[in-house]
Amino acid sequence: MSERISFAYAAVLLSAAWSSLAQADPYVPSGENAVLAELPAGTRYADVSARRLARARVDVAIPLAQFYIQQSRVSGDLRFLGYAEAVLAPWLEKNPPPPDVLVLQATLQQSRHEFTASLATLERAIAARPNDPQALLTRATVLRVLGRYPQADAACQAFSRVVEPRLGALCTQSLRGLRGDLEGAYSALRQVSPQGWLNAEKSWLYSELGEMAVRLGRDDDAQRWFQRDLTLVPTDFYVRGAYADLLLRQRRPAEALALLNGQERFEPLLLRIAIAQRQLHDPGHTQSRGRLRAAFAEETQRGEAVHRREQARFLLEVEDQAKLSLRVALENWTVQREPDDVLALINAANAAGSSAAAEPALNFVRAQGQYDARASL
């Protein structure tokens, strides 16, 4: 029976995909002054001349690509990654490409969850410039997401040798927190004074501390770290999402909704909005769900799977499709292995009544000695 429901749901998704493609109800706006779109910085036609210059000069190309990648982080807008790609493309064809270009390319690939490609690019960058801190840190980050902790640790050690010790500690301790000594890593990081750091570095520290506190089950602590981070960097939508998850877990949907107010354009945050609206029986839920369906359908149509973790949660927590959610969570698990990925898989497996399906993830977590209060691990 549930097979049949899943089938029906697949049909719903297909028709959502179809309608997102076929959706066409064009109209003529009522007045000349009707505003159709506001253009974010760096998206103007006038910027095209800077891009042309970037084709000729690498010292223009690198900061421009950095700017675009940063914009994509801040705005959550994947288009900026495309712009960065366009700026880097001609330089990647050089033989050999400038190491800075390789590092940025790897960052870009990592942002698109193309982890294997990112590691390969980093290898070339590090071969050309073994002490490049950015390359080493990116490598550590990618390996950590992939769950390859010993290699990630080696990258962190190499990173520590070329940056100031506190930053190095941040890299190694957050990894230690995933490898059986969460308590120790947490208290070590709490000793770190971020004095003199840039906001972005402080934000890194606070978000690691917040996530560790969540896994330790110290929600009050976590809330404080998240709040401190958001005061500093209000655009940190990753931490905003983590904070919202905490509130939703504590059944405080109204506060979650207030925290996410005006963030609908970020799909991962829209997901939390939809969940909060559902807990509150808010009539806006239907619209949020429809927008998420359309977004996932478009992503699937493009053949990309950047948001598998979110999709698994969407299927489970919004659509009540445990079996489909489990399928997506398992696919996601083959790609990335962060604590939230473990959690998504365990939740889907339990809801689908086949907890054995989460066994590979549980074995991994046990082997690492990973602790997560949310999953009673």
Partner: protein, 377 residues
């Protein structure tokens, strides 16, 4: 060495932070409908992508207004002409544009450029060379919906620069259904329509309910034998079939068309009339005349469904007959299921004083709701 932490800080600004990206990347929507040698379609681009392609924000205030979009129309058209090429067996198709419009999607406003293309000879296959935003945003993709002879196919276009241009040109074989496959497709569509479009069935049932009864002053009486009931049913069904076949054919071959709002409203009204005639009988003999008169209008209703599907070239008559046969088969199945039951129940008070007045009233109420919906926009 002094510079190292600072450099590193700048780089870390890029790195630290979420792996989750919020927005879906840039998608354009290309809708094409092939009819013989003609292709009609539309290219839909996000306003932001239009800005990137040709520059829409003339007064540089960071906003794109309808006036600005409209005055950039020619530039947009020539951009699309230069970056999207359609070709058939006789070479490149000649594209002509209509006026630009706007379409709303979940992630904002899109500009909608409708066009028609003349490909010289009847299209067996269509080649599409899609290079829109190729240089500006390599992650841009065109999501294609291509409809030919009632069959739709979808594909993802673009991404040419990443593959060295190999992916830009794509060939699509157009489905030319055999007469038999067209027949079965339209047969199924006919059955499907009669079962999903419950209004035609309710009309027919309202006329058939009294077929197993005789009208005496102020009361209904069961027919003593089956023969007259059978004759009644055959008369009504035949009249209805004949009438809607006539108008369906006229409309399908473009001899006569009525605005769909008019036909849909009158169809609803016809149900009200037929149902009320059971509650307050006026026409008690020769109900087949009502069936015939309103059947003419129901035919136009079927025609609008057929118009949406489109009749395949070369199989117009076959498809029309198939659709009509499907409609008849669908309605006959319902008549065969319901009328024997009505015949068995005809003598009961439940049928004569329950189903007849109250069932008919319920049908009339439902039809009234439809009528209000359809007649008033």
């Amino acid at each position: 060495m002094n510079n190292l932490p600072k450099l590193c800080c700048m780089l870390i600004l890029i790195l630290v932070g979420p792996l989750a990206q919020a927005h879906i990347a840039s998608n354009g929507f290309l809708t094409l409908k092939v009819d013989g040698a003609q292709v009609s379609g539309a290219m839909e681009l996000a306003i932001r992508d239009g800005e990137l392609a040709v520059g829409l924000d003339h007064n540089s205030d960071g906003k794109v207004t309808w006036g600005e979009l409209r005055s950039s129309q020619t530039a947009l058209q020539s951009y699309v002409l230069g970056h999207l090429r359609l070709g058939g067996d006789a070479g490149q198709c000649r594209v002509g544009f209509s006026l630009v419009q706007v379409n709303e999607r979940t992630d904002g406003s899109y500009l909608w450029l409708p066009f028609t293309a003349d490909c010289g000879v009847r299209l067996e296959r269509l080649s599409i060379d899609y290079r829109i935003l190729d240089a500006e945003d390599p992650s841009h993709r065109g999501l294609l919906t291509l409809t030919a002879n009632g069959t739709a196919q979808t594909a993802v276009l673009g991404g040419a620069s990443a593959s060295g241009g190999a992916l830009a040109l794509r060939q699509f074989e157009l489905e030319h259904p055999s007469s038999w496959s067209a027949f079965s497709e339209y047969l199924r569509a006919g059955i499907g329509h009669i079962w999903s479009g419950i209004d035609h069935l309710l009309f027919l049932l309202s006329l058939l309910l009294p077929a197993v009864l005789l009208r005496r002053p102020n009361r209904w009486e069961a027919v003593p034998v089956a023969a007259p009931a059978f004759v009644n049913i055959v008369k009504v069904v035949t009249a209805f079939t004949l009438a809607h076949s006539i108008t369906l054919s006229l409309a399908a071959f473009d001899v006569l068309r009525l605005p769909s709002r008019l036909t849909e409203s009158v169809i609803a009204a016809s149900i009200i009339v037929a149902a009320l005639n059971n509650v307050f009988p006026r026409v008690t003999e020769g109900r087949w005349r009502i069936a015939f008169a309103f059947g003419l209008l129901h035919g136009f209703g079927f025609a609008s469904v057929l118009a949406e599907m489109g009749l395949p070239q070369g199989a117009r008559l076959v498809s029309l007959v198939a659709f009509n046969v499907g409609v008849e088969a669908g309605q006959l199945a319902v008549v065969l299921a319901v009328m024997p039951l009505a015949y068995l129940l005809r003598a009961t008070a439940f049928y004569r004083r329950g189903v007849m007045p109250w069932g008919s009233s319920a049908i009339a109420c439902l039809a009234l709701v439809w009528f209000v919906h359809r007649a008033m926009p």
